[in-house]
Symmetry: C2
Subunit: 330 residues, 2 copies
């Protein structure tokens, strides 16, 4: 199959082409530092925590050894918490002070990703929500990007499982694009684009990896990467923070764990990946056209000048086949 | 410095942050295949040539051993030359047949990139122009992306220097964005955005790597990658094919060679990189707002979930410092 497909959420075109040779790079190691800074006992290597959570997701004393999730400031942040936002011109150029926040959310005391359990993800979900709620009070911030790198190919430098939260003074490009496109769709159809996609995927069935009462995971029609997976709430919900129902959070944690298990079973236990949470900008009013979701992208192929120069992607695995593979992997 | 900068051509935001640790990956090797398919004597490994050029840039017999530039079809093309363009819906999704062309332009009989001379680049420029002129006759095509991968990190699988031409049935996303933005600027200012950037860069001087009568190379104000370089004609010219003046072509070839020499001198001889030609879509009328350019991007850093999820970039090298380094590297 050689086919161009367009992703309705981002309007990105992808070339699906399974006739080309490719080699997956299945290595999730990083250039390991001798002492893991996130393991218990090595606290002197990292900044003092912002907050710690216990096994019920409640805040506990920062120095309590029984933490289940710990949040620390990144000591080499992408953006810095100090200073005011100021915008300046340099001739026709635009510059802005690099104000924001960059936090590390240590997912568990466990050093190995594979050993994490759904309970750990429940606590991570609660911690992420709590951090977003806290950072939202800082009126300089517009968006909080929550993501995760696993393996060197995915940009990670530390093995111990951790999320990153980067709070930005602007709405990032990818989010802006999704907001604009889903708004256009809503204006035209008076329905949420994401809800329509979910209904359609359930009806077709060919790209669904798994479905529970409240969530669905699927391989996107126009996947950029082999085995890319999206996890969406079936019910319309624009903001990840508004997922408050305990049972639903448990269901989501189960689904995330299952997607990882399937990816490891399908591709091998050392699959490097990125995870990204797509959610609502902080200062927007409630809007009917956006719908939060999680994206899991195995980073097992390389980019070339083609992707870089065109903004298009070439995916050597047919999404329906990837979905079948992942569906049957459990 | 931690600063957000916006690229006026693409409207992309970049975080310039030189306070973070980073490690450059300076390895341009590829997983070498035993016999180079592009070296003389191994012709049986590749498809029959589309066209060959002699030392004056003239077409010669396909089987003449004295070729200086040889163009072959990619035997595992991204898009296929056969078939008609047809667009179909699948529910709310859009798909399109993968029609296009994918050619490999072997730059020289020389196997090692570093040994290429300005004369080789002159012949490559002429050959690229000739191939675009030929492919333009195929009315199914909308854009020809010319690019080059060097080193495994840049997506290359073959050491022997070669360009790739992918002829697309759509105008790719990146080009569309640049066209839209430069058009808006033109409508507002009645001047070419690129020409304004060039004038401003010459006036500031801090990001200029080198300047000749007709060309300028500079490190962009909002570089996404360390040591990223753009080469632009100083005179307004929207279409690369319209660069016909022999002396100017020589000047450009000299500048490309010099940029590579500087990159190798500054970063080491094994720097992996992508090169991309940004030029005019095939079917547009002449427009005053676009301006062709060449982009050279060393691929020495890794992407993480941050870049992936936000569409923003983090560059650990201040563009003005990169420019100074490259300027002084010769």
């Amino acid at each position: 199959m050689i086919e161009l497909r367009k992703d309705p959420i981002s309007s990105r075109s992808v070339i699906i082409n399974d006739t080309r040779d490719f080699q997956f790079e299945l290595d999730d190691t990083v250039d390991e530092i001798p002492m893991c800074p996130f393991c218990v006992g090595n606290e002197k290597l990292i900044p003092s925590p912002i907050v710690c959570y216990d096994k019920n997701g409640n805040k506990i004393d920062k120095y309590n050894k029984n933490w289940r999730v710990k949040v620390i400031p990144n000591n080499k942040p992408i953006l810095t918490i100090e200073g005011n936002i100021s915008r300046k011109a340099e001739g026709l150029y635009d510059r802005m002070t690099g104000v924001g926040a960059h936090e590390i959310l240590i997912e568990s005391q466990e050093h190995q990703e594979q050993n994490l359990k759904p309970e750990d993800f429940i606590l991570n979900i609660l911690a992420v929500q709590d951090r977003i709620n806290d950072l939202k009070n800082d009126l300089r911030l517009e968006y909080i990007l929550v993501f995760k790198n696993h393996g060197k190919n995915a940009g990670s430098t530390i093995t111990h499982p951790h999320f990153q939260l980067v709070a930005l003074p602007i709405i990032p490009r990818s989010v802006k694009e999704e907001m604009t496109i889903s708004k256009k769709y809503y204006d035209f159809k008076e329905r949420c684009l994401f809800c329509d996609i979910i209904d359609q995927e359930i009806a077709f069935g060919t790209r669904v990896v798994m479905e529970t009462n409240s969530f669905i995971s699927l391989v996107p029609f126009a996947s950029r990467y082999p085995f890319e997976t999206r996890i969406l709430p079936k019910e319309h919900l624009e903001d990840f923070r508004n997922l408050r129902d305990k049972h639903k959070i448990e269901e989501l944690a189960e689904m995330i764990t299952s997607v990882f298990r399937r990816l490891r079973k399908a591709l091998g236990k050392n699959v490097p990946y990125n995870l990204v949470l797509h959610s609502y900008p902080l200062k927007q009013d409630r809007i009917p056209h956006y719908h939060w979701y999680i994206e899991v992208i195995p980073k097992i192929t390389k980019f070339s000048g083609f992707e870089f120069g065109s903004g298009l992607y070439v995916n050597p695995v047919i999404p329906e086949e990837a979905a079948k593979f992942l569906k049957e992997a459990e």
